[in-house]
C-alpha cells in the first residue's frame, strides 16, 4: 500500500529577554542552580505574576513576520499538571486565545520548489525548571533557574509530508527568529526546541491517521532521523494489521528508535482555565505599528532582493540569506570590495569561506577573516593582482592570522600575479620544449591536452601566471 506522511511541528523558542516572563529574575544561561529562581518562579504563596512587555513585543514581532492575525485580546490560562520542575502545579500558558493566530511561512524544498506551511498559532508561556535524575542518591534534583523563562510556542498546521520538509520548515523558523532577534536559536542550550506530531494514512485517505507526538528531537539531524524512524514504525505496524496509539514517544538517537514515554491515561487532562492572576492581554494598535516599522528585512524579501539587485542565482541567494549574520557579512564584504563583484563575492562566501567555517565548526560571526579583510582579498582577485588559486593561499594565510590584510600577505610572500606577456611567453616556450609528446597530441587534434599544458605553465610560474593569459599564449604558440 502507498502511504502518505503527515507532520506538524511544535517549536518552542526561548525569547531573548533579560528577565523572566512574569518575574524580575534573570534569564541568563549557565548560572549556578537556583540562583535565578525568585519567589514568583518558585510559586511562593502570595506572589503575583507581572507580564514582561518585551516578551509581548517579541511575540508580536513574530506574528508580523509570518503575516499572522494578532489577537487583540488574548488570555493567559493555567495548564495544570504535577511535576517537581513546575512548583506552582500549573504552567501559565495560552490556550483558547493565543496572542498570535493563523499565519504562514514559505519554505524551499530540495528540488527548488516552494511550499507554504500554515502556522496555526503561536502563544506565550513560561518554561519549566530542569529535573536531574541519577546523581542524587535515589532523589531527583530540581534546578528552577529556567522556570519562568519566556517561551513562544509556534504550532504549525499538519502541512508537511516528509521529514525533509519538516527540517526545512524548522530551519526556516530558526533563521526567522534570529533574523527578527527574538531568540538566540542556541539548540545546545535548549533555546530552540522541537516536538513533532507524526502520522501516516493510506494515499488518498481524507481523515488523518492517529498521531504520535515525538519528543527529544532537538537538532535538525535528529528531527529528520526521528521522524523517518517513527514513520517506518507506524507503516510497519499498520501493514501488520496493528493500530497506532496516540501517545508521546521519545526518540533515542543512539539506538535510532522511538519508544513510548508514558501511558498515563490522564496525561492530557490539563484542565486549562483562565489564570485569575492575569488580566487579558490587550494589544494596542500603536504598539503593533511601531513594531511593524522596526521589523528588519525578512529572509524571503532579502533573498528576492539579492536575486534582483546582485543578479545572483536563487540558490546562491537562498544560501547567503539563510542567516542574517551571513547575509550581513556578504553585503558588507561586497560593499567594501573594489571592484565590487557580487557573483565573485557569493562564490567565495559560499565556497572557500563556508568550507573553512564548517571545517573549524565556526559560525560566520566567529570567522577569523572578517568582512573587511575578506573584501581586501576579493579586491585583489577582482583587479587581477592574484589568480583564484593564489587567492586560496592568501585566504589560508589570512585565516591563520599570517598577515592583517590580503595586500600585506601578497607583498610579503611575493604572490603577485605575473601578467607580463614576455615573462609568460618565456615559460610557455620552456614548457613546449619540455613536452613534445603532448604538443604533438594537441596539434594532432587532441585539444583537451591543453589543460595539461596550462597546468605545467602554472606550476612553472608557481601559480602566479594569469591562467587566462597562459591559455591564450599557449594556444597561439601551438597553432602557429
Amino acid at each position: 500500500m502507498e502511504w502518505e506522511v503527515v507532520i506538524g511541528l511544535e517549536i518552542h523558542a526561548q525569547l531573548a529577554t533579560k528577565s523572566k516572563i512574569f518575574s524580575g529574575a534573570s534569564t541568563q544561561y549557565g548560572a549556578q542552580p537556583n540562583t535565578q529562581a525568585c519567589a514568583v518562579d518558585l510559586g511562593f504563596p502570595g506572589v503575583l505574576p507581572v507580564l514582561n512587555q518585551e516578551a509581548v513585543k517579541m511575540a508580536i514581532k513574530f506574528g508580523l513576520a509570518v503575516g499572522a492575525e494578532l489577537t487583540p485580546r488574548s488570555v493567559f490560562e493555567r495548564k495544570n499538571y504535577f511535576y517537581p520542575d513546575l512548583p506552582k502545579g500549573y504552567q501559565i500558558s495560552q490556550f483558547e486565545l493565543p496572542v498570535v493566530g493563523k499565519g504562514e511561512l514559505t519554505i524551499e524544498l530540495e528540488d527548488g520548489t516552494e511550499k507554504v506551511i500554515g502556522i496555526t498559532r503561536a502563544h506565550l508561556e513560561e518554561d519549566a525548571g530542569k529535573s536531574m535524575h541519577g546523581n542524587f542518591g535515589g532523589h531527583t534534583g530540581v534546578d528552577l533557574n529556567r522556570a519562568g523563562t519566556p517561551l513562544l510556542e509556534i504550532v504549525s498546521e499538519p502541512d508537511m509530508s516528509s521529514a525533509k520538509e519538516a527540517v526545512a520548515y524548522m530551519k526556516k523558523i530558526h533563521a526567522l527568529v534570529r533574523y527578527i532577534d527574538i531568540c538566540d536559536g542556541n539548540m545546545q542550550e535548549g533555546s530552540f526546541r522541537c516536538d513533532a506530531n507524526v502520522s501516516v494514512r493510506s494515499m488518498g485517505q481524507k481523515e488523518l491517521g492517529t498521531r504520535a507526538e515525538l519528543k527529544n528531537i532537538n537538532s535538525f539531524r535528529n528531527v529528520e532521523r526521528g521522524i523517518n524512524v517513527e514513520v517506518e514504525r507506524q507503516i510497519e505496524l499498520l501493514e501488520e494489521g496493528g493500530t497506532v496509539v496516540q501517545e508521546t514517544r521519545l526518540y533515542d538517537a543512539d539506538k535510532n528508535e522511538t519508544r513510548s514515554m508514558r501511558s498515563k491515561e490522564e496525561a492530557n487532562d490539563y484542565r486549562y482555565f483562565p489564570d485569575p492572576d492575569l488580566l487579558p492581554l490587550v494589544l494596542e494598535e500603536s504598539m503593533i505599528e511601531s513594531i511593524r516599522r522596526s521589523l528588519p528585512e525578512l529572509p524571503n524579501a532579502k533573498r528576492d532582493r539579492f536575486v534582483q539587485e546582485f543578479k545572483l542565482s536563487d540558490y546562491d541567494a537562498t544560501v547567503l540569506t539563510s542567516t542574517r549574520e551571513l547575509a550581513d557579512y556578504y553585503e558588507s564584504a561586497l560593499k567594501q570590495a573594489k571592484p565590487s563583484d557580487p557573483k565573485l563575492c557569493a562564490n567565495w562566501v559560499t565556497g572557500t569561506l563556508s568550507a573553512a567555517l564548517n571545517k573549524a565548526d565556526l559560525d560566520i560571526t566567529e570567522s577569523p577573516v572578517d568582512a573587511a579583510k575578506f573584501a581586501g582579498l576579493l579586491s585583489r582577485i577582482g583587479d587581477n593582482t592574484i589568480s583564484g588559486n593564489i587567492a586560496k593561499k592568501v585566504f589560508e594565510a589570512l585565516w591563520h592570522g599570517e598577515g592583517d590584510s590580503a595586500d600585506t600577505i601578497i607583498e610579503a610572500q611575493g604572490l603577485k600575479q605575473v601578467t607580463d606577456a614576455g615573462a609568460i611567453e618565456a615559460i610557455v616556450d620552456e614548457v613546449i620544449a619540455k613536452c613534445p609528446d603532448q604538443v604533438a597530441d594537441y596539434r594532432g587534434g587532441k585539444e583537451q591536452i591543453i589543460g595539461f599544458l596550462v597546468g605545467q605553465v602554472m606550476q612553472a610560474s608557481k601559480g602566479k601566471a594569469n591562467p587566462a593569459q597562459v591559455n591564450e599564449v599557449l594556444r597561439k604558440k601551438l597553432t602557429s
Binding site: 507580564l51 529535573s131 532523589h139 534546578d143 484542565r271
Partner: protein, 120 residues
C-alpha cells in the same frame, strides 16, 4: 469577538465537566470523585466520597441552570472595571536569595532541590 465568547463557553464546559463529557453531567459517582481528587492530588477519606459526590453534583446542577441563560455575544468579564494586563519593563530586579528560599526546603544538595525520585 464571537469566537471569544464561544471559546469562553467551551471553557466553562471544560471547567465544570472535566471528564471530557460534552453532555452535562448531572451527578457524579464514586469513580468521578476519585479521579478528580487524584488529578488535584487531594487525599480524601473513602467515607467522605458520597458526600463529595453529592455536593459536587449540586454545583453541576447550578451550572446546568446557568447554562439556560443565553450568553451569546457576551464577552466574559475578566475584571469589574474592565482593566487589562499591565506590562512591566524588561529588567532584572531580583537578586539571588537561594539560601533564604532553600532554608525551608525539606532537602537540598549543592544548591539543587531534592525531591522523591520521579520516574520518567
Amino acid at each position: 469577538m464571537q469566537g471569544a465568547v464561544e471559546q469562553a463557553q467551551n471553557h466553562l464546559n471544560y471547567l465544570f465537566f472535566p471528564l471530557n463529557s460534552t453532555e452535562p453531567v448531572m451527578s457524579l459517582d464514586r469513580t468521578d470523585v476519585e479521579k478528580i481528587a487524584h488529578l488535584a492530588r487531594l487525599g480524601i477519606n473513602g467515607q467522605d466520597i458520597p458526600e463529595y459526590a453529592q455536593t459536587l453534583s449540586n454545583i453541576f446542577a447550578l451550572v446546568e441552570q446557568m447554562n439556560e441563560v443565553d450568553t451569546h455575544n457576551i464577552i466574559p468579564m475578566a475584571h469589574p472595571l474592565d482593566a487589562v494586563q499591565r506590562l512591566r519593563e524588561d529588567c532584572v530586579t531580583e537578586t539571588n536569595q537561594r539560601e533564604l528560599f532553600q532554608s525551608i526546603a525539606p532537602k537540598t544538595e549543592a544548591g539543587v532541590y531534592l525531591v522523591p525520585q520521579v520516574i520518567e
